[in-house]
């Protein structure tokens, strides 16, 4: 097992969550359920660490390829891992571990856990399978696994709003997948193969490739919830159970973003135009402003955080216009992509921490309304602290991962001469500060309204719920101190600009 290609780590990372799902489905409720699932998550984390070590050991930073059944492309399916996918797998591994611990405590006494665990592990399996996939049709199947299990998880509460949100999410997800499938059909027609590397080798600037790229972009934008196709996200992420909201905002939308980046920069890179990337950048900018404005106006805490996701995703779309000016426009390297990767990691950790702490606050307060959060800082100090740390990262203040991500974006925009994105990034930070300070000032506000009834403090959340959220917040801070770690995994050690 000296190299990643020949070891069986790549299939195991897909099959382990599948086995965990089967075990979860077949078993009945017992006292060991939580520990069993945490055990699976821990094993997956260890495998992910092993994969990262093996990948970094191979000094060449080339992608590792595992041919399933040794048929090889184009006949068989290849599992391909490069720097970006190793990073996403690592992110999935870390988040799975922490969120599984949270979920085990969250669902400790709930009969719904029987439905939660198999669906949870199938979602993780879909994410892992997507990040290692090297075949276009396999990506379609993985996108469907992710979409269906995520919609089923959103519907877990069986309340009216969550069912509506889940139905909307499902329909939009299926529509996006069908666009993607149509694009794959056209690509197969013109290239005669389904393997990503072979399509990349034979793709050019012709009309079929451009049409396929447009279809893939529209389909995946529906799944990523970029403005104006974001209408499904706030309700879906707000009405899901807390660990599900966390993984939806942190990883599931990033999975579709990963596919879009892969197609845009590697597979169909010849057919992307400067105008199209500017359009994506403009839509990203609008998403930042619009999402922040709607977050400010939100009345429920989780809806606010969900709109914040819409806004933060806009930042990552600045990658597209910025990288057109980088040295290599046809590959995913250079400072713009470093900024985007760092942003993905920073946002995932911060948003998951924010959702977890918000879930704790809602559990302790009993309702999700923002107005009810008055003065909660005295009752739940740790959770408010976690919320604050996550907010600091989202605004982009040092010392957090979000600060480094924004710094990279700013330096890249200045370097490439597109200075207008600087204004967008800075104003986005101010807008994020607006809605976050609104929450924090309310949380610390201890004055009593006239005639208001003193709210009875509910039972405080269990220690596990709070501490897992705290771990995520600390990771966000830690990433702010050591930027090289993430960047070295995803890119060969070219000089990191601006740090």
């Amino acid at each position: 097992m000296t190299s990643l290609s020949s070891s069986l780590l790549l299939p195991i990372i897909v099959f382990l969550p599948l086995i965990a799902a089967l075990v979860g489905f077949m078993s009945s409720r017992n006292t060991f359920q939580g520990q069993l699932n945490i055990g699976f998550a821990f094993v997956q984390f260890l495998i992910v660490v092993l994969m990262a070590i093996l990948f970094l050991d191979e000094q060449s930073y080339q992608s590792a390829v595992y041919q399933i059944g040794t048929w090889g492309a184009p006949l068989g399916i290849d599992l391909v891992v490069d720097g970006f996918s190793i990073l996403m797998i690592g992110l999935t591994g870390v988040l799975t571990l922490i969120l599984t611990i949270y979920g085990a405590a969250y669902y400790a006494d709930d009969p719904k856990s029987l439905r939660f665990w198999p669906l949870w592990w199938l979602l993780i399996a879909g994410l892992n399978a997507l990040f290692v996939s090297g075949d276009a049709f396999n990506i379609y199947v993985c996108l469907e696994i992710i979409g269906l299990s995520a919609a089923a998880l959103v519907a877990l509460q069986s309340t009216r709003t969550s069912l509506e949100a889940a139905l909307r999410y499902l329909l939009v997800g299926l529509l996006g997948s069908l666009f993607y499938l149509m694009a794959i059909a056209i690509l197969y027609r013109s290239h005669g193969t389904l393997d990503l590397a072979q399509i990349a080798a034979s793709s050019g600037n012709g009309l079929p490739d451009q049409v396929a790229m447009i279809l893939i972009t529209i389909g995946l934008l529906l799944k990523i919830a970029l403005f104006p196709l974001h209408f499904w996200l706030p309700q879906a992420h707000a009405n899901a159970p807390t660990p599900v909201s966390a993984i939806l905002s942190a990883l599931v939308v990033k999975a579709s973003l990963y596919v879009l980046i892969k197609f845009w920069f590697e597979v169909l890179s010849g057919s992307t135009t400067f105008g199209a990337s500017q359009v994506l950048g403009v839509l990203g900018g609008i998403a930042i402003v619009y999402g922040s404005w709607k977050a400010f106006r939100a009345k429920q805490l989780k809806v606010l955080i969900a709109y914040s996701t819409v806004a933060q995703l806009g930042y990552i779309f600045l990658l597209f216009p910025l990288s057109e000016h980088a040295a290599n426009t046809s590959s995913f390297s250079g400072s713009a992509s470093q900024a985007a990767i760092y942003f993905i990691v920073a946002h995932a950790c911060a948003k998951a921490a924010m959702f977890l702490s918000a879930g704790n606050l809602i559990l302790s307060q009993g309702s999700g309304d923002i107005a009810q959060l008055k003065g909660i800082a005295t009752r739940e100090p740790v959770n408010v602290l976690i919320f604050t740390i996550a907010g600091v990262s989202l605004i982009g203040l040092p010392p957090s991962a979000g600060f480094i991500a924004k710094w990279l974006l700013l330096t890249t925009s200045i370097e490439s001469g597109q200075w207008w994105w600087v204004l967008v990034v800075l104003s986005g930070g101010l807008l994020a500060a607006m809605y976050l300070f609104k929450i924090l000032s309310l949380a610390f506000d201890n004055t009593l309204d006239d005639g208001a009834v003193q709210i009875q403090p509910k039972a405080l959340s269990s220690k596990v719920l709070t501490s897992s959220a705290l771990v995520l917040a600390l990771i966000t801070l830690a990433l702010g101190f050591n930027a090289e770690f993430i960047l070295n995994i995803s890119h060969p050690p070219v000089g990191v600009s601006g740090i």
């Binding site: 669906l119 879909g126 469907e144 012709g206």
Partner: protein, 247 residues
């Protein structure tokens, strides 16, 4: 466009908020562009057929579609069975593992046509499904077709309400997972024996494929039957599940 989930039986035919003009124009534009792509650009003539033909003899079956589905691209089929399982888990009612898999309830009014149809057709469909499974190696057929046919037979049997199936019993859950479990088990075992995931040994490829297909047929049949049942069963009206049903 999707902001209103409209469930009214007598509601408006068309979404009043969607803009007719923009939608029709953009869809027509799409259609024209795609048609131009089809007309002006020839297909890659060979496709993947030469590769399949070259390796067909070592795949264990002679039907090229079955070879692609269960040998060359077996990983996709595995994930697709997982997709079916996701939906089944999502629609199953809350757990009631006490009652057995199938319960027979006697009903008094017998519909002559329906019961004759059931009595004559269901065994024939069962046999035909078995044949389809077997013939998948050499002719069009295989696990999915056989599983769907079996599910059709189950739907036929459910029409009278005589049978009540508890899809959350241990037996039912084992049947649902046996397809995926067998696939994963064979795939991982082959890593041990042959060195690579889902790499069938030459001599046993046909047998292994048939084994996986049998498991998959049973799984697909009961999964599809459970999806059908989840849509027609009314909670709290004598269904085997608890009345606080999630479906």
């Amino acid at each position: 466009m999707f902001n209103q989930i409209d469930l009214e039986y007598n509601g408006p035919v068309n979404d009043p908020k969607a803009s007719w003009l923009i939608t029709v124009c953009s869809v027509l534009g799409f259609l024209i562009v795609l048609t131009l792509v089809l007309l002006n650009y020839d297909a890659h003539n060979a496709g993947l057929r030469p590769y399949v033909e070259g390796s067909l003899s070592s795949s264990g079956v002679t039907n090229p579609v079955t070879a692609v589905l269960l040998n060359f691209r077996a990983y996709d089929t595995l994930l697709e069975i997982a997709v079916l399982l996701i939906v089944v888990i999502a629609v199953l009612p809350l757990r009631n593992a006490k009652t057995s898999l199938v319960r027979c309830i006697e009903v008094t009014n017998h519909d002559l046509v329906l019961t004759s149809l059931q009595r004559w057709l269901a065994p024939a469909v069962l046999m035909f499904a078995g044949y389809l499974l077997w013939a998948g190696a050499t002719q069009p057929g295989g696990a999915f077709q056989a599983g769907a046919l079996l599910a059709g037979a189950c739907v036929l049997m459910f029409q009278t309400g005589v049978y009540r199936v508890n899809y959350t019993s241990i037996m039912a859950r084992s049947l649902m997972t046996c397809g995926l479990a067998m696939f994963i088990a064979v795939g991982l075992a082959l890593i041990w024996f042959e060195g690579s995931l889902l790499k069938y040994p030459q001599d046993y490829a046909g047998v292994l494929i048939l084994l996986i297909e049998s498991g998959a047929t049973l799984s697909i049949a009961i999964c599809l039957a459970s999806l059908y049942s989840s849509l027609i069963d009314i909670p709290g009206k004598g269904h085997a599940a608890t009345s606080e049903s999630g479906s």
